[in-house]
């Protein structure tokens, strides 16, 4: 049980680190945080799948 919890925590931390790193490297991710950090500001950028 303890081992399982440790493994779960490890995977969650790994995902958190990778996602944050990717977010700061990728221009799209940074845009999302900047735009949504101001409350109730909608994303003005057209979603990529509609382009």
């Amino acid at each position: 049980m303890k081992r399982l919890l440790t493994e779960i925590l490890f995977i969650m931390t790994m995902a958190l680190v990778v996602s944050l790193l990717y977010n700061f490297v990728s221009p799209t991710g940074i845009k999302i945080i900047k735009k949504t950090s101001k409350n109730k500001v909608e994303i003005k950028e057209e979603p990529t799948w509609q382009k």
Partner: protein, 148 residues
């Protein structure tokens, strides 16, 4: 051997769906907003974190690294998705479930938040439970490292 086949199916699906969401985070943000469950402040962080969690769990399941923990986590994740979809159905909304992100558009797969999605998720949960219960699984990196 059955757990290996299930690992490939479940892991592959979540690896690909994670990648599809990572490639188009804006769409995932919009989908999460449509669900109208999460507070606005959490939405961007959820949209950034969940696809990577899916991707890493899918990778772990396919490669057979920490397969018990990853299958347990995946079952929990799918359970949360299922609750979200059920809440959408109860509220009578007809929206995209966003399960496969960009991939659904590319392959023209129906990706609506309806009962089909709930049943599909329940099947995935069953597969995850089978993988979780399997003490040993074929062709896993974990077994390989134990032997070396």
């Amino acid at each position: 051997m059955i757990s290996f086949i299930l690992r490939i199916i479940v892991g592959g699906i979540f690896l690909i769906s994670g990648l599809a969401k990572i490639s188009d985070p804006v769409r995932f943000v919009l989908t999460l907003r449509e669900f109208d469950i999460f507070p606005e402040i959490i939405v961007p962080f959820t949209a950034i974190y969940i696809p990577w969690l899916e991707f890493i769990i899918g990778l772990c399941i396919i490669l057979g690294i920490l397969h018990r923990a990853s299958s347990f986590m995946l079952a929990c994740l799918i359970f949360i998705f299922t609750i979200a979809i059920i809440s959408v159905i109860i509220r009578g909304m007809e929206i995209d479930c966003g399960c496969f992100g960009l991939l659904a558009d590319m392959l023209k797969i129906p990706d609506m938040a309806d009962m089909k999605a709930v049943i599909r998720n329940l099947i995935f949960i069953g597969m995850c439970i089978y993988i979780f219960k399997a003490k040993k699984t074929a062709f896993s990196l974990e077994n390989y490292f134990k032997k070396v």
